[in-house]
Amino acid sequence: MSDVIQLLLIGITQGCVYGLIALGFVMIYKATEMVNFSQGDLMMLGSFVAWTFVVDLGLGFWTGFALAILVMAAVGFLIDSVIVRRIIGQPQFAVIILTIGLGIIMRAAAGMIWGTQPLSMPTPFTGTSSIGGAIIGNERLAIIAATVILITGLWAFFRYSRWGIAVQASSQNQLAAYYVGIPVRVIYSSVWAGAAAISTVAGVLLAPITLIEPLNGFLGIKAFAAAVIGGFSSMPGAVVGGIIIGVAEAFSSAYFPFVNETIGFIIMLVVLTIRPHGLFERTHRKKV
């Protein structure tokens, strides 16, 4: 029984990481209807930046963490305002290819700057806790806590704050949002900044578990699967999707190692086959 709880906990924490990255996707998609295929690479870049501040410059974990979030938010803001903005109004397809290209560049650049050897970063989340007979590392508990805090904060932001409502407005009708005086451009870039910041949180929290290396960017693909299961425009859905994939991976690596690597994608394909717009679909099919 404790085995099951152990696997469940590991799965949930892994899933929360996917969910955190997927939150970035969903935020950007909800607000700007663009699909950011470089979200995983933003996470990877964020963890490298944090490593530079914490280990290389020796600023201490919390200062370095905060600085990394700020730097990555700036990077996200610039990616939108300098590059992605230029192709607004072009087909979905162009955005997908553009962000894939950006992801490749980020991965290659990270490999050039920080090398391809995995780096480790000390975090204050050490030691283990015991829950219902299962033993779990505190670094994993930190991930769960961060996910709960972020999702609550984001929900409140979009529900109650002026800016959050402005984001929703410009997502529903850009032109109308312009007319009522919402600074749509700033909002779009800010959403990218927010998504990059969330990815940085995910990257830093993941660092003790996977180490920091350029190939971590490929986690983004699993996060993408999570977002798809969640329906792409639902934030809680993204986290639920991430947890579904994480738990499935944990159990399959214990009981069905044959599909260990691919179970997330199999689930996603099954979900897409049954419901082509995700489990938590908020949009309707275009009908003629």
Binding site: I87, I88, Q92, A94, I100, F232, F265, H284
Partner: protein, 358 residues
């Protein structure tokens, strides 16, 4: 500027619109036929790779360029074609069976993917095809009794009537033949009702549906044709590589195929060929240039992906119509000389209009 005097409706359907086409494309084919006589084995190999990329790009172009369905998983069809071909050759079958079998099996896989994929759109489709490619790669690793798993498998040379084609120039001509056949097939599909339906779906699925186009069936057809052509390219790719390993067909290959058709020019047959030539030049250029560059830059890891990424981003931002689109602009400039206007090719939508319905 050439003005074509139309005498019949069938004139619009001709593959070669005027005599100039015969001349220039004839010269091109002649040049391609003569190329192995003029170069050494290394460059014949490089040219063969360009031809194979062009064929694979043509396959992807049918799906992405003409039907508007983004596929991030075309390396999977390449892999299916490559492994089918080499497994059958290894069992002692002739290439007369192995190469068509590669196309057919790949086509069947394409149709299986199309069944769920025809209901998806945009990001869902892209990620689903990506997942399919990952599954195929994983299957090749796991099914090691047939595919050799991570160890890989050696590929027999193409065999016709018991004669084994070991020479590079023989593979070159085989690839050239299949590419020309592929181009003819695609041109013919494009002027058939199914081809017109594909383009209609690409431009607007809603209006295509309301005009009575069978959207699901057309998408299925596009997937099948695209996968078959790419599978054919896969069979040739196996011969070119001579040794197959699963990591050859990783995500990066799918992205490279996509890059190729975007850089070449989406939605044109020329684009697939031009893109392949450009990527081929780039790869050859990088492998030669690495020795010429000063040590520190040449040996940096990730130089090649960095260049690929930068080119991809640059083209999407500054020339979304690709190399062929640039050529059309240059030609239009001269044809209409004093009255050419830049705005003729300007993008129309400058703001985002949601495709969602609330």
């Amino acid at each position: 500027m050439r003005i074509i005097f139309k005498r019949s409706y069938n004139q619009d359907l001709r593959i070669a619109k005027h005599s100039g086409h015969f001349l220039w494309y004839g010269l091109l084919i002649a040049l391609a036929l003569a190329a192995p006589l003029m170069t050494d084995a290394f460059y014949i190999g490089e040219l063969t790779r360009v031809l194979i990329y062009a064929l694979a790009g043509l396959g992807l172009m049918v799906l992405t360029g003409f039907s508007g369905q983004v596929s991030l998983g075309h390396a999977a069809f390449l892999a299916i074609g490559a492994y089918t071909n080499s497994v059958l050759l290894g069992m002692g079958y002739s290439s007369f069976i192995a190469i068509p079998a590669a196309a057919v099996l790949s086509m069947l896989a394409g149709m299986i993917v199309a069944l769920p994929a025809s209901r998806m759109a945009g990001p869902y489709l892209a990620i689903a095809t990506l997942a399919f490619a990952i599954l195929v790669e994983d299957m090749i690793v796991k099914w090691d009794t047939v595919t050799g798993g991570n160890r890989g498998m050696a590929v027999e040379p193409p065999t016709f009537f018991g004669y084994q084609m070991w020479e590079p120039w023989q593979l070159y001509y085989l690839a050239l033949l299949l590419l020309i056949l592929g181009i003819f097939a695609v041109l013919n599909i494009l002027r058939s009702p199914a081809g017109r339906a594909m383009i209609a779906i690409r431009d607007s699925e809603v209006s295509a549906r309301s005009l009575g186009v069978h959207v699901t069936g057309t998408k299925l057809y596009a997937f099948a044709v695209s996968a078959a052509i790419t599978g054919l390219a896969g069979a040739l790719f196996a011969h070119y590589l001579q040794y197959l390993a699963p990591e050859t067909f990783a995500i990066l290959l799918s992205i490279m195929l996509l890059l190729m058709i975007v850089v070449g020019g989406l939605g044109t047959v020329h684009g697939a060929i031009l893109g392949a030539i450009l990527i081929g030049l780039l790869e050859t250029g990088i492998s030669i240039g690495k020795d010429l560059l000063p040590g520190a830059i040449g040996t940096l890891p990730g130089l090649e992906p960095l260049l690929f990424g930068a080119i991809l981003v640059g083209f999407i931002l500054f020339e979304p119509l690709g190399v062929y689109g640039r050529w059309v602009k240059v030609r239009t400039f001269f044809e209409y000389f004093p009255v050419y206007r830049k705005k003729a090719f300007k993008r129309q939508r400058a703001y985002l209009k949601t495709e969602r319905m609330h």
